[in-house]
């Protein structure tokens, strides 16, 4: 069935046919026809953000907490350029989003028209794929393709640039079933012989470890279920990247905690000393590997990833398996079971004994205080008071993000939204808006630092307008904490531009936005403040004044190996060599 309609109507129809219920966006001249169509329907709700970057992060939060693609609608020129940070963020974290941008009419393209920018040119390197649609007849097909590409294979952001005259013109609508999406079909099944080889290695391994990442979560909830069955069946310890938290439950018996630069001691030591590393849906990022030529020197490495370009990019692996995590895990479990569910029990017991000894180091210990709130304590109390709730967490970027990853626990995938790859300050608040929109009844907390939070604070206004009761849990040290920490460790304690004077009064700011705020300084009042935040029926800003000079540990100093972790301030002086100092 085909129908004639305007390009603008086609956009809305295509979104409906793709099952979209929410669009995050901001109107402008070049998208007015589409906004006119949005006005005349009720199936899709439009969330008016206050800045286009916020729209993209909100869509990311929506996508990560639902598994569905997030949709953004912005205007040409500045609307599109403001979306670039969000697109890059989604690309690095493999988040499926579809961004629709308006463009000047086709006859004005190339004339430096008002609010004209070369949107497809600018966004080419920060999208998985993008299109400029010059013909209304091709519009519906292109939108369906954009959804297909964004959600298939390794997910990512796609963008469609739609000139205004294409929105006004009439063309033929093509439903999703008839769209030409067949050509892009990434391989999802892993090579069976390779999987059999992996099972054989797993059965004999003495010190195996699972190292999992965001790919498990992107593969869908069934992948997490399969992972749990595999881990608990084999008894092999498991660690995860920042992106993969929640795929295996933090309450699980075989959980080692997060690995990486600020990962747990036991996780990093186990990675360094293992004899079989099974990487599932992670990509050997430099925050994970530390010094590459000293990375897990004694292990055989297996890498399961849907993206062939992730294989051997940074670490040479002995057994690559290209395929979707869920499909590969399913085959892996079937083969492992059919061969009699074997594992090297005796060796594993010894391995666990070693791991328990590492755990006894208790690397997350910190010196608490009854005078000032320690940031770690604040996150611990947040955890204690919200653990049992239907809870989603977003974060900004910096020390607070690492403390949140260390002290909060996640038992389900899709509950933890953080900017891992790009490290985008200003991500958490708009992301919490998107998460809350998708889960109106849930508790959504953005664990933030005051500096990051200020970068997109305008989105509080969005939350108030749409009655999204997001909780902003700001660890306020009046510093750019992570920058300050690196300056202390690396630049002779010369704290260049890493503190903020003239910070706003966050309580008054909350009132100005039309929501509620509270300041808390006294550790004894912290629990009460957190409770008030949770119980308040609306958006809430909790300004937690914390210790100003607390450093985030444990830490692998840059340029070092996993087994060279620093556990506290005493060890950190001069820990970073000249070569390491050049790294980020």
């Amino acid at each position: 069935m085909t129908r004639q309609m305007t390009g603008a109507k086609m956009v809305v129809q295509a979104l409906k046919d793709q099952g979209v219920d929410t669009v995050f966006g901001y109107p402008g001249g070049a998208v007015l026809p589409i906004y006119d169509e949005i006005f005349q329907q009720n199936d899709i709700q439009h969330i008016l953000v206050r800045h286009e970057q916020g729209a993209v992060h909100a869509a990311e939060g929506y996508a990560r907490s639902t598994g569905k693609p997030g949709v953004v609608l912005v205007t040409s020129g500045p609307g599109a350029t403001n979306a670039v940070t969000g697109l890059t963020d989604a690309l690095l974290d493999s988040i499926p989003i579809v961004v629709l941008t308006g463009q000047v009419p086709t006859f004005l393209i190339g004339t430096d028209g008002f609010q004209e920018a070369d949107t497809v040119g600018i966004t080419r390197p920060c999208t998985k794929h993008n299109w400029l649609v010059k013909d209304t007849d091709a519009l519906a097909d292109t939108i369906h393709q954009a959804f297909h590409v964004a959600t298939s294979g390794r997910p990512g952001p796609t963008l469609i640039d739609i000139p205004k005259d294409v929105q006004f013109a009439t063309g033929t609508y093509v439903p999703p079933a008839k769209a030409k999406t067949s050509r892009y079909q990434p391989q999802v099944k892993g090579d069976r012989e390779s999987i059999e080889q992996l099972v054989e290695w797993m059965e004999g391994a003495e010190r195996p470890i699972f190292y999992t990442g965001g790919g498990v979560i992107n593969s869908g909830t069934s992948a997490s279920t399969l992972l749990r069955e595999l881990v608990d069946g084999t008894g092999i310890p498991i660690t995860s990247t920042l992106m993969g938290l929640g795929a295996y439950p933090a309450s699980g018996k075989h959980w080692l905690g997060m690995l990486g630069m600020h990962g747990l001691y036991e996780a990093n030591m186990a990675m360094h000393d293992c004899d079989l590393m099974i990487c599932i849906g992670a990509r050997f990022d430099d925050r994970i590997t530390g010094r590459v030529d000293a990375f897990s020197p004694e292990s055989r490495k297996v890498h399961i990833d849907i993206d062939p370009s992730s294989i051997n990019k940074i670490i040479h692996v002995d057994l690559p398996i290209v395929g979707d995590v869920g499909h590969v895990l399913e085959d892996l479990l079937t083969i492992w079971k059919s061969r009699g569910r074997k594992s090297n029990k005796e060796a594993l017991a010894g391995w666990w004994k070693q791991i328990d000894a590492w755990k006894d180091v208790k690397c997350l210990t910190y010196k608490n205080s009854d005078k000032v709130i320690k940031p770690q304590y604040a996150v611990e109390r947040l955890e204690a008071l919200t653990r049992s709730m239907d809870r989603y967490i977003t974060t900004e970027v910096g020390q607070h993000q690492m403390w949140a990853a260390q002290y909060l626990t996640f038992d389900e995938p899709g509950r933890w939204m953080t900017s891992g790859g790009l490290g985008t300050m200003g991500y958490g608040l708009p992301a919490s808006v998107g998460v809350q929109k998708a889960h109106p009844e849930a508790l959504v907390v953005n664990v933030a630092g005051e500096a990051s939070w200020l970068m997109n604070m305008q989105e509080m206004s969005t939350a108030v307008q749409f009655r999204l009761p997001i909780k902003q849990f700001i660890l306020n040290n009046e510093r750019l904490g992570m920058v300050r920490q690196w300056q202390q460790l690396l630049h002779g304690e010369r704290y260049s531009q890493s503190w903020s004077e003239a910070l706003p009064d966050f309580v008054k700011l909350a009132e100005a936005f039309g929501c509620k705020g509270r300041l808390v300084k006294d550790p004894a009042e912290l629990d009460d403040a957190i409770r008030e935040m949770i119980e308040y029926d609306g958006p809430f800003i909790l300004d937690v004044m914390v210790e100003k000079h607390e450093n985030c540990f444990p830490m692998i100093p840059s340029g070092e190996a996993h087994n060279k972790m620093l556990l506290g301030d005493a060890a950190a002086t001069n820990a970073i060599g000249a070569a390491g100092g050049a790294l980020v």
Binding site: V120, R124, P125, H129, V149, P308, S309, N312, K313, L583
Partner: protein
């Protein structure tokens, strides 16, 4: 990997690899990339190379199948074996890329380049230029009393050799198309 003196190793695209990058041996590879013939596809390929810091020695592109909307890009690139593998995998990720073939490893192939040389001079040099052109089977496609334009087709080293010979004989300017390549045999 053993030549790289690392145990079970790593490649060289990480900021955290502190090894000497010059130790790895670079190889030259010719890649044939079949792409959808649509706006921006060349920009995607070139952007990939510049964005990720890969080398391009030569690049040619033209539509090869009008009805099938296919273009063929031939890229000559250099890199360590790991980088070459990365380049191929990264090219394969581009949604509008249909096939990537490494002609250097997929068996024997034919490589040709077309070049035009403008050579100006008179007297003995002019005669010598014409004689060498004959030896190289270059065609004179334009001539004035003071100059020739020679057209030469051949493998890149043949073009290089001819250019070297023309230089002392009055080479004014030259242009070359870059490498076009096909694998040998019926496939």
């Amino acid at each position: 990997m053993n030549a790289l003196k690392i145990k079970k190793g790593s490649s060289r695209k990480s900021a955290y690899d502190l090894r000497d990058p010059h130790k790895d041996v670079e190889e030259k590879h010719t890649l044939a990339v079949l792409v959808d013939n649509e706006a921006g596809v060349l920009a995607r390929v070139i952007g990939l190379f510049s964005g990720r810091g890969y080398n391009i020695d030569s690049l040619t592109v033209a539509e090869v199948d009008h009805l099938g909307h296919a273009s063929r890009i031939t890229i000559v690139t250099r890199g360590t074996p790991e980088i070459i593998e990365q380049i191929k995998a990264q090219l394969g990720r581009i949604v509008t890329v249909r096939e990537v073939h490494d002609l250097t490893v997929e068996g024997p192939s034919v490589e040709r380049e077309l070049a035009l040389f403008k050579v100006a001079g008179n007297g003995e040099k002019r005669v010598e230029a014409l004689r060498l052109a004959d030896i190289f089977r270059a065609n004179a496609v334009d001539s004035t009393l003071e100059s020739f334009i020679f057209e030469l087709t051949g493998a890149p080293d043949k073009i290089d050799a001819f250019a070297d010979l023309m230089r002392p004989l009055g080479l004014v300017e030259m242009v070359r198309t870059g490498v076009a390549a096909l694998s040998r045999g019926a496939e």
